[in-house]
């Protein structure tokens, strides 16, 4: 019996290589996850608007430390055509504000697969629509991802969805249809949009002439009606092109002038992205994306917002009243404070796989530039995955721009972090 557990090779190779067949046995359950520790150093810029907004009544010096830890647990149980999967995320943060801890169920859903053509999922799950790397204008039913770390897990929404797949011969190889129901009520998905609505969304996917094409729709409900299309295609073995286009009907933009007067403007917003992924002969990967955020703020609107914060800060300094700063905080949350809240962005990431013959070592640099005000963040990073199940990443972000520009007004001049993530 023991012998049968090992796939024994001929004596010449048995000493070098063995394949323990027990590794391939399928279990009806799975438990795993990862544990992460991340110390961060923020270099503060005391002249910026967002520093004044956050630190107007405290002095934390020129740099602050933060210690983050994260535990993600994953589990699944499978019986017949049914599988239940769950993923939890626990964040622990120790910063100048003290300690904070929060546990969130990122995903927890039951999946039924009556056949290889059909699956039905019910519960909390992420859908991750779109072909872009840093941004996804067509991800209508996802929480926004962080372009600074696009591969992080995200929390899902409670949905009922299905996938119906059909394969063909010829230029049209695959068609799949994904209808999604998203209930939004007081205690269910209440951050999605207007409550007391049952939303429907749908995605139609084609693999047509070796091109991935998605048509997506969210026909009103908790959010205004939006349509989208995306594509991705390999032009050659080392060159890929992708793009997304989203049309948002009756988008309502809320903004303020430098005196803090509220305005609202309704228009049809067009968001789009075009990008490439290119692999050189020397194993360097370039990801380049241009993102147009038609729902974003103009340079003038952003300058007004920063102007209002500065006015609030001056008012606080001269009168001791933080009323204007509190109002500025309110308009920041979920509005001006959104990631990449302006109009035109460029993303460039260059990563070199295993330079100098150092296996599992990937240095890279990332540039994210706001094309409207010429401000940017530039992040070199070193990634090492040579130790089984351990991932080490050292990353420094330099943030720069003129006064009243998006990156120029960030609270930090730089951020340095070391992330150690262990998978189990």
């Amino acid at each position: 019996m023991l012998l049968s557990l090992f796939y024994c090779l001929s004596p010449a190779f048995a000493e070098e290589y063995t394949f323990n067949i027990s590794e391939t046995e399928k279990k009806p359950y799975h438990i795993g996850g990862n544990l992460e520790f991340k110390p961060i150093l923020f270099g503060l810029d005391k002249n910026t608007s967002l520093y004044k907004l956050k630190f107007y009544n405290r002095d934390e010096g020129s740099a602050i430390e933060e210690y983050d830890a994260k535990l993600q647990l994953e589990g699944s149980l499978e019986k017949g055509i049914a599988k239940f999967s769950v993923k939890t995320n626990t964040d622990y943060k120790k910063s100048y504000l003290g300690e904070d801890q929060q546990t969130t169920v990122y995903e927890g859903f039951l999946s039924i697969k009556p056949s290889s053509s059909l699956s039905i999922d019910i519960g909390k799950k992420t859908l991750r629509w779109g072909t872009g790397y840093a941004w996804n204008p067509v991800a209508f039913i996802d929480r926004p991802k962080d372009p600074d770390d696009p591969e992080l897990s995200l929390e899902g929404f409670i949905v009922a969805s299905a996938d119906y797949i059909k394969s063909f011969q010829g230029p049209l190889k695959t068609v799949s249809f994904t209808p999604v129901l998203i209930p939004v009520y007081n205690h269910v998905n209440n951050t999605f949009g207007a409550i007391d609505k049952l939303n429907f969304a749908g995605k139609l996917y084609f693999l047509f002439y070796d091109t991935d094409i998605d048509l997506v729709v969210l026909p009103g409900g908790s959010k205004t009606t939006r349509y989208g299309v995306d594509f991705s295609r390999n032009i050659t073995t080392n060159f890929e092109i992708h793009g997304e286009f989203a049309f948002i009907n009756d988008y309502k933009k809320k903004f303020i002038d430098s005196n803090g007067t509220n305005f609202e403007k309704e228009y049809d917003a067009k968001n789009y992205l075009i990008g490439i992924r290119y692999l050189t002969e020397k194993d360097a990967t370039y990801i380049l994306e241009y993102y147009r955020n038609g729902a974003g703020f103009t340079s003038g609107e952003m300058r007004d917002y920063f102007g209002f914060i500065n006015k609030g800060y001056d008012s606080y300094v001269s009168t001791g009243s933080n009323a204007l700063l509190k109002k500025a905080s309110t308009v920041t949350e979920g509005n001006y404070g959104k990631l990449n809240s302006m109009r035109d962005y460029l993303y460039l990431r260059v990563s070199q796989k295993e330079p100098f013959d150092i296996l599992y070592f990937t240095p890279s640099v990332t540039l994210m530039a706001n094309l409207n005000d010429k401000s940017f963040s530039f992040s070199p990073e070193l990634l090492y995955t040579g130790i089984t199940n351990l991932e080490l990443r050292l990353k420094v972000a330099f943030i720069a721009g003129e006064r009243l520009s998006e990156y120029g007004e960030k609270q930090n001049d730089y951020r340095a972090e070391l992330r150690a993530r262990y998978y189990f």
Partner: protein, 242 residues
């Protein structure tokens, strides 16, 4: 007269070489390596010059000439990742990212000497034409040229055992005949169901001096799957095929 006899005898000796149907031979090599549709388990081991190793375990399913999908079972950091190949199209699904992204055949999802096209290998006859076949003692030497520019290696030289019609060595070359890597096929095993093939593929590369990667095959058996299993939408569900 003597000259005529010599020429005639030479032709008699040479004729069998020219009579070899290279395409048929390559198809035979393909079939002997794998059934056209199958499932298998593989362990990939990357070995560094200092002897340190990193191992990956994969479940792989292939259907027809152009459909392959692989699911990583170990280590924990890779578990749940899957790769899909449909002809020249390749995608990688990472559970954390939650959606498939297009990858290229020259990249490597595991690092080391094996690249994606080695891991998601199609039939050689599907990607290459046989330019010529030579006989080298107990082996055939097949010279292959890629059918399209999208194939990872422009040229292959395959040494195949004459009696078993199984490869013993493959050199992967660029269009300019520069050696990219060499695959060595070892340890011929009976997998059952009439499948007798090398259980180990070793590879080294002049581009990675001192490094070696090894692929060990197990539980290889003929099996048919629905076409829908080889689609982007299905990539998060590969585990259900096991």
């Amino acid at each position: 007269m003597l000259k005529i006899i010599i020429v005639f005898l030479s032709l008699l000796i040479a004729l069998p070489v020219y009579a070899i149907d290279g395409t048929a031979l390559l198809k035979q090599v393909d079939r002997n390596l794998n059934p056209e549709s199958y499932e298998s388990y593989r362990k990939l081991i990357n070995i560094e010059p200092d002897g340190s190793k990193k191992e990956f375990t994969l479940f792989t399913v292939k259907k027809g000439v152009d459909k392959v999908v692989s699911l990583f079972l170990a280590p924990a950091s890779e578990k749940g990742r899957s790769t899909l190949r449909l002809g020249d199209n390749m995608w990688l699904y990472i559970p954390n990212v939650g959606k498939p992204v297009r990858i290229t055949s020259l990249q490597s999802v595991v690092g080391g000497v094996f690249n994606n096209s080695d891991i998601l290998q199609l039939d050689y006859a599907a990607e290459y034409n046989v330019e010529k076949v030579e006989e080298k003692g107990s082996e055939y030497l097949l010279y292959l040229k890629a059918k399209t520019k999208t194939v990872a290696y422009d040229r292959l030289k395959i040494w195949a055992d004459k009696s078993k019609k199984l490869p013993t060595k493959i050199e992967c070359l660029t269009e300019a005949n520069m050696l990219i890597k060499t695959l060595y096929f070892k340890d011929v095993k009976d997998f059952g169901g009439g499948i007798v093939r090398p259980a180990v593929t070793e590879t080294d590369s002049p581009l990675y001096k001192g490094y070696k990667s090894v692929m060990i095959f197990a539980k290889l058996k003929a099996k048919d799957f629905k076409d829908e299993a080889f689609t982007l939408t299905f990539m998060s569900n590969i585990e259900s095929l096991r």
